[in-house]
Every structure is written in structure tokens, then in C-alpha cells.
Subunit: 212 residues, 2 copies
DNA sequence: ACTTTTATTATACAAGTGTCCATTAAAAAG
DNA sequence: CTTTTTAATGGACACTTGTATAATAAAAGT
């Protein structure tokens, strides 16, 4: 069962193409294996020799996106030194751009009757990105799994709300909103004369600022 | 179709009882309508006259829990005046106790192949609780929907991680972990002599402290 | 080009799904 | 207690699901 067998490649891409087309017209959870195979001209038994269910086929799209997300995430931290909560460059939060770019896809991931497993894929991916980032900045004294879970899901909360509002804001606007949220959380410490010490960078995002 | 018709009450409770028993032995997504009806001695057509799918029956359990969650949530804010990020009474965060008490149920809600809609029910409920709480404390200058989404999902991120670790910590321990996370986020502003001003209460939770 | 390997097909099966309708029986209304 | 209302039943329908197996055909290996 070499993965390079031409027959396998042909079958799989036919199935993916069929699913892509069906997703333009109906919800993921209402698409049947039979339907995909009919459209792809592939025997139903062949489908089951490659995938267990419709979702497994959909998941293959997901893997590619997660790679792109990694790239989107790492970018802003190249400029982490110049970040100030007050003047965060809206373009910095690339994660919103990544989602905006693929909003067609994320619309499905966040839709009601889809299994939560896709959300978990996204969540765990962001969590890992944050956790890796934390290690770069040394020990925090806080349970790393819990802290990263808190921070990752906080961002995704904003994204969920964004998708619930049909992605009507631009990614740049979303970044602005996030900045205001972070500022609000830290409102106790700013605007205090003679107290201009770097206020923990982007704690809402990775929690790993540039100080200490 | 008065909701008080004895036949309806009898049928519905028989179906619920059957589902409850089945859930002790197998996953929600692997339980069929046929199976429930067989166990409940209810005609399959009768099931469909009340519910559209197995999930709709499960959702009825959920409604009750959300009421209990409201009670659990409101409790700690009766003591909000005495809250300090440094010495937050672990018992204060009742939401963890609520989940611990019903962990049997939440284990299902957070399990992989279940639809994300249940998570949304929980998320939106917590979001509303936080939003109401925000209004009590006046305008924030931040998009209320986005801020509450951020804060609600942050807490749920910790809960997801908790369930992923099979709820091995106690609710009290979880509260302690949350306190440490919040302290970490605010580490830039504490231990600064002569700067003992209430540090924004519980921003990670509701973001509405007691100052201003 | 020929042989070997194996992915794909056609077909069949038992089981579940969602929907419909005529019949039955239990509850509500008088 | 009798009548009226309507929930529940039993049976049937076309359809999807997941699995299995022998036959076919396309690719890989020599």
C-alpha cells in the first residue's frame, strides 16, 4: 500500500474534489459518504478503505491549514521587542489574518452541528504554539498546560465571537479589539505617572512579555 | 399537545431514563434512536414526534445544568469586595465545583466526537453571565461581546485542559491554578512598594474589578 | 513485455434513518 | 360515564451505513 500508487492518488483527489464542491452547497454534517462517492465516481467500498467517515476526509484539509497557522503565528514574535500594549501594530496579530484568509473553511469548523474534534485540533495547535513560546522565555512558575490552555482558548473565544458575527470585522479591526481587551485587563497599572515599566507584553496572547 | 399530557410525560421520562442508562456503557455518538426506543419500550415514531435526533434528547439534560451553573456563578460575586488576586479564596470559584459535581456529564460534553453545539451552549451561557456582570459595573469602553467572549472562553480553556487530564485535580486545586494564572498575567504590577491599589479584581474571569 | 501485486469494483447483507399513515388506546373535556 | 381529542403504535417505504468477498483491472516490479 505505497502512498505513491497512482490509483490511490487519483481516488483521494477525486473524493476531495467532490467534498469541496458539496461543501459549497450544504453543511458538512448533512453530506453522506454515498453522496461523495456518487459525485466522485468512486466505489463506496473504496472510500471506506481510505477513510472511516466523511469527517476523516475533511480532516485532511485541516492538516494543511495548521501548517499555515504555525507560519502565521511565528511571524509577529520576530518583532516582540518593540511591542507595547498601548501601540500594538494591528498587523502584528497574524493569526486573525490567517483565519480571515481561510474564513470559508473556518465557517465550517465553527458551525453548530460539526463535531468538536476540529475545534480541539485548532485549540491544541494554538496551545502548543503558545507553550513553545513560553519555554523560550524561561520558567513561569505556573502550570504550563493550564496557562497555555487559558491563553489559547481566550483568543479562540474572540474568534468564535467573530465567526458568530459572520466575520464582519476585518482582521485588522479584530487586532485592534484585542489590543483594547488587553489594555482593559491591565487598566489598573497604566496611566500612573512615573510607572512606565513594560506592562507584561502580550499576556493575553502568550503571556510571555519581554521583562524579567 | 398540552405539555402536561400524562402520556407525553411518561414517554419522555422513559426515553431519558433509557439514554441515561446507555450513556453509562457507551459514547453518545454511538447510541442510536432505535436502541433508546428498544430500551424505553417506546415506538420509534413516537421518539421522532418529540425529538429530531438523539442529541435533542441529550440537550434537555443540559438545560437543567445551565440553571445550576447560573447559581454557582453568581455566588462568588457576593463576596467580590474582599477579593484580592493574591489571596483569592479557592472556594470562591464555584464554577469549578459545578463542573466537578457534574463531571460525569461534562466528560461527555467535552468528548471528541460530540457536536460542538453543546460546547456553544456552555460558552454562550458563561458569556452571558459575564456580560450581565459587566453591565453592573458600568461601561468598559471595550466591545462587550468580544470582551466577554475572551474571558468566558479563557476559563473554559482551563476546563478543557482539566477534562483532558481526566479531572484529576480537585475543584479547589483548579481555583488555585487559576489564581496563579491571573497573578502571572499581572506580575508586572504587584510587589511594587507604595502601589497597593486594587489590581483590577478578577479580570481573567469577568474583567470587572471593584475599583473606579 | 510479462508476471506479480494490490487498489478498485460489483454485489450483497443486516442494521439504522427519517418519514408516512391508518389503527388503537389513553387521557382530557363535557 | 360518555364523548372528543390526540398521543402512541405497528407496519411500510426508500434510503444510508458499515462490512465482507469474489472478480476485475490498473499499477509496480522484474
Amino acid at each position: 500500500m505505497r502512498a505513491t500508487d497512482l490509483r490511490i492518488i487519483k481516488t483521494k483527489s477525486a473524493l476531495k474534489e467532490a467534498l469541496t464542491n458539496l461543501l459549497k452547497k450544504k453543511a458538512l454534517n448533512s453530506i453522506s459518504v454515498t453522496e461523495i462517492c456518487r459525485l466522485a465516481n468512486v466505489n463506496r467500498g473504496t472510500f471506506y478503505s481510505h477513510y472511516g467517515q466523511v469527517g476523516d476526509l475533511f480532516e485532511e484539509f485541516f492538516r494543511d491549514l495548521m501548517t499555515d497557522l504555525t507560519d502565521s503565528y511565528l511571524e509577529p514574535y520576530k518583532h516582540v521587542q518593540i511591542l507595547q500594549t498601548d501601540e500594538l501594530n494591528p498587523d502584528t496579530i497574524r493569526i486573525f489574518h490567517h483565519i480571515e484568509k481561510n474564513s470559508e473553511f473556518y465557517r465550517i469548523v465553527f458551525s453548530e452541528s460539526v463535531p468538536i474534534s476540529y475545534y480541539y485540533l485548532l485549540f491544541h495547535h494554538v496551545q502548543e504554539l503558545i507553550k513553545n513560546d513560553m519555554h523560550l522565555h524561561g520558567e513561569t512558575g505556573v502550570d504550563a498546560a493550564m496557562l497555555s490552555a487559558y491563553q489559547a482558548n481566550a483568543i479562540l473565544g474572540v474568534v468564535i465571537e467573530w465567526s458568530r458575527q459572520n466575520f464582519r470585522q476585518s482582521a485588522a479591526e479584530l487586532s485592534g479589539i484585542l489590543v483594547r481587551i488587553l489594555n482593559f485587563q491591565f487598566r489598573g497599572m497604566k496611566a500612573r505617572p512615573g510607572d512606565n515599566g513594560s506592562p507584561a507584553g502580550q499576556p493575553g496572547l502568550s503571556g510571555t512579555g519581554e521583562h524579567e
